[in-house]
């Protein structure tokens, strides 16, 4: 039988979201909390993101991932927040009970509140259905990043990258600096899904070609990868006959999207969103199960870690408040927020009238001088902003005032057609 204990708050995941949530909850008065991390150290994926550019909003300087994490790890130590390393949550139910394993010992924890901060994982080859052989040499970009930056292992010498997500772009530069030849980056869509500065500084700087509307249709090699066949695609993303060509390589990196990690949430019956892959939450980051909150990349995939920290702090403060006072009665009546034309998803998906709500969303297509609008259910414009640049790779933020939501049942966020 596992040992049974009680905690006011447990935070699952010691990456950027979990760290910021724990710090904020402790500062908001929560004393009996535990931060659970399955790795041997805190920091999560930031530990392998050694490139700089983190923290420009938070700290006003361009830090590397490990440095950004260290700022929060120092706060965790200063605030004497208990941390369980090498510890994994095996299961969770909707009564906020979790089963936890640490190096062979089991514990059942009954928590007053739970913050889910498990982050996300990469889409792998299996999700893409690329035909062909299964030789060694095919990795996700994040796995290669771990080998190179943490384990000092080079996955190969002649590299092709599928997908122009930021991790793939960052790895194109990193592999080049370490002496590999990156042949090209192929992107299925007609535009890159990475940040423009990464296109410039990771590809253009090193004369690595980016081929848009192009994908891999075959993988060759028996034991080791020998090359890939690529083809251009039409507007329906179907390969165009006659455009096939063979690209020799010994390594293929996949940078084709991230999926919020929500096995535990699913098990507890938490409502998940079909587009984000994360939980459906209100403006306090609370999920459909009372007392369970979600933040960071487990909630939706963010563009910048600074926004992860900000969102996680909100989850931390609200979890502390939930433990102190229970759920706010007003929170039972919410305004639905739905994506309209040109918007892929919004966060949160509902808000409590009267609460100031930081609204985050992603657009479906790149545009310039686009006007984003928040409409009420009769089509009246409640808020409107013009953006010089809108891009699917970048989250858009709008601050909604509590009084703007008063008396409403539904809101729609859209890009003005």
């Amino acid at each position: 039988m596992p040992e049974r204990i009680k905690k006011d708050l447990i935070i699952i995941g010691g990456g950027p979201a979990g760290l910021a949530a724990a710090v904020a909850a402790k500062k908001a008065g929560c004393r009996d909390l535990l931060l659970i991390e399955r790795d041997k150290m805190l920091g999560g994926i930031l530990n392998q993101c050694i490139h700089d550019g983190f923290g420009l909003h938070r700290f006003g300087e361009a830090l590397s991932g490990p440095e950004y994490a260290q700022r929060y790890i120092d706060m965790i130590h200063e605030l004497e927040i208990p941390v369980a390393l090498n510890t994994i949550v095996l299961s969770m139910n909707d009564h906020r009970r979790v089963l936890v394993s640490t190096m062979g010992s089991l514990q059942e924890i009954e928590a007053g509140a739970i913050i889910l901060a498990m982050g996300c994982r990469e889409r792998a080859r299996g999700a893409l259905s690329i035909p062909g052989n299964r030789p060694s040499g095919v990795y996700t970009a994040g796995a290669a990043q771990n080998f190179v930056n943490m384990e000092n292992i080079m996955p190969g010498k002649r590299v092709v990258i599928l997908g122009s997500g930021d991790i793939g772009l960052i790895m194109a530069r990193r592999m080049t600096l370490e002496g590999a030849k990156v042949e090209a980056v192929f992107e299925l869509l007609p535009y890159s899904s990475g940040l423009p500065r990464n296109i410039q500084q990771c590809l253009v700087d090193y004369e690595i070609p980016l081929h848009l509307s192009t994908t891999i249709i075959d993988i060759h090699g028996m034991d080791r990868l020998e090359g890939v066949t690529v083809a251009q695609v039409d507007e329906k993303r179907t390969p165009i006959a006659g455009t096939e060509r063979f690209v020799p390589c010994d390594t293929l990196l996949l940078s084709v999207g991230l999926i919020p990690e929500n096995e535990l949430a699913r098990e507890a019956g938490i409502e998940l969103h079909p587009v984000t892959g994360g939980a459906v939450v209100d403006d306090s980051c609370m999920t459909s199960v009372r007392g369970i909150f979600s933040c960071g990349n487990a909630l939706h995939v963010h563009d910048l870690v600074d926004w992860v920290s900000e969102e996680a702090e909100r989850a931390g403060v609200n979890a502390a408040e939930f433990i102190r006072a229970g759920q706010d009665e007003a929170a039972r009546r919410t305004v639905e927020i739905t994506p309209g034309c040109g918007v892929r998803y919004t966060l949160p998906q509902k808000a409590v009238p009267g609460h100031d709500t930081p609204l985050a969303f992603r657009v479906t297509e790149p545009s310039r001088n686009g006007v984003v609008q928040v409409l009420d259910s009769s089509g009246g414009v409640i808020a409107e902003e013009t953006h010089a640049r809108l891009h699917p790779a970048e989250m858009v933020w709008m601050a909604l005032k509590g009084e703007q939501l008063a008396g409403l049942e539904r809101l729609e966020v859209r890009v003005r057609p």
């Binding site: 050694i50 490139h51 830090l63 590397s64 440095e67 260290q70 930056n149 943490m150």
Partner: protein
């Protein structure tokens, strides 16, 4: 030659159309699309002598991790990045290492330092 550049100085992200001579280094001839003075300074720099920060890692002796991540403290000319990498590759510092420890000053004659960006403890 003509090309489009996305200014990265501020979140406005002005798209600047620039015309420049071919050659090493290229020379800026004309440009438009920037909204401010900073964009003007940036586009000239970006074309004639682009400056970059970058990161890498070094092997560590006696540490609880086998590598420590490092980065430049100031941007360096893009053309010198590979020379600096050659110097970084020769480093083999001893643990313990702390965030901010300076491993190299003025590598390849550039005005930057290479600092450690990860805490590495000593193993017994």
């Amino acid at each position: 030659m003509k090309n489009e550049f996305l200014c990265v100085v501020c979140p406005n992200g002005c798209l600047i159309d620039a015309e420049f001579t071919e050659g090493k280094p290229p020379k800026l001839i004309a440009f438009e699309g920037h909204k401010c003075q900073r964009g003007e300074v940036w586009i000239r720099q970006e074309i004639e002598n682009p400056m970059r920060t970058f990161s890498s890692n070094v092997l560590v002796e006696n540490g609880n991790c086998i590598t420590a991540s490092v980065r430049t403290t100031k941007p360096v000319p893009l053309a010198r990045v590979m020379d600096i990498m050659d110097e970084i590759r020769k480093l083999y510092p001893k643990a313990p290492l702390h965030v901010g420890d300076v491993l190299l000053n003025n590598p390849a004659g550039t005005d930057t330092s290479i600092i450690v960006t990860r805490e590495v403890e000593q193993t017994r």
